[in-house]
Symmetry: C2
Subunit: 203 residues, 2 copies
């Protein structure tokens, strides 16, 4: 049986590998990164990586799932703090999405750019963690439809996807811009004005 300390040490090593992969992918791209370069970034032996991950694709998917879990936990916690109704919550969701380009540019680049580089991931695009992230948006739209804030003629599944696409494209732009963005309030204001007004119920 593993002791508590052994489990913790394993968790730390796994995390070091994930963080090393994130940095290596941001530098050279998923396809051009060798497993040995990830090991270098992580400060572990090449073989160690295979104790935790089957291959580079598996690493990519684990990294995505792990980081999405972090993003989801954070967004749920932030949404609980929002004073105001559904519209304020949707606005906050959008703001936090763009904020990633400021707070964690390597992660923003990974999600918008590198992730699509793995054909394997694209085919597993219905990844449960991605579904959870989209699900928050879908739930907010449905909440607004129930409380009369948002129009009822829109399909929450389809429309949450469209809204996500708009956010993802603008985050991609922020991520690819020559200067790393320090403020995303213009993007947040404009995109939420467009999308929230599109969702809003009217007389």
């Amino acid at each position: 049986m593993e002791t508590k300390e052994e489990k913790k040490a394993q968790g730390d090593k796994r995390e070091k590998i994930l963080q090393g992969a994130l940095e290596a992918f941001a530098k050279k791209g998923f396809y051009n990164t060798k497993v040995s370069e990830i090991a270098d970034e992580a400060g572990v032996a090449d073989g160690t990586i295979y104790l935790y991950f089957k291959n580079k694709d598996d690493l990519l998917i684990s990294l995505f799932e792990d980081r999405m879990e972090w993003i989801i936990d954070r967004i749920e916690a932030e949404l609980e703090q929002v004073e105001g109704g559904t519209i304020e919550k949707v606005r906050r969701y959008m703001e936090l999405h763009f904020q990633l380009a400021v707070e964690n540019p390597a992660l923003a680049e990974f999600i918008t750019v590198e992730l699509r580089q793995s054909a394997k991931f694209i085919k597993e695009y219905d990844n449960p963690k991605f579904g959870d992230y989209l699900g928050i948006l879908k739930r907010l739209i449905e909440e607004g439809q129930q409380d009369g804030t948002f129009r009822e003629d829109l399909d929450s599944r389809l429309v949450s996807r469209a809204v996500f696409g708009a956010l993802d494209e603008v985050l991609l732009q922020l991520t690819l811009s020559a200067e790393k963005p320090s403020d995303v309030s213009l993007e947040a204001t404009q995109v939420s004005a467009l999308l929230i007004d599109g969702l809003r119920a009217r007389e």
Copy 2:
């Protein structure tokens, strides 16, 4: 000097290679496709490809530019036929975007999936042909702002990007769906309801 016939034969061969690449990429993905497999699809010798294209990345970009040119010409021609104002034109643009999943699924898959697989392309994301396609949307939004249909507080550059993102994400979903879609009217109606209502000027 080349005769007219020689020029035409060259053009045909180039087109055969581009179409072969489109089919090969759709089957195996950009990264997993060998140049020799493109040659097989196109029915030309491997070496012939290098007479027309520097490498696989160059082929990807040429394919994108060539097909975008076709899409742009078509959309411009269709927009001229639209009876009605700016809103009808924006609606038609969206409908034609989704229609690609029905009419040319290999091209829809290439644009939404394969294209992002090339790191080189992502860095050249400000590709002029992509800019032209986005530019049509931006122009329509500005037209609507001038004639009073659309609100003036939105930045046409930023907002056309967000609108494109929404369309691209829904097209990606259509393209990845298990059954090839035969009708995109639900997607077109819902997404244009959301986005056009978001753009609309109000009292």
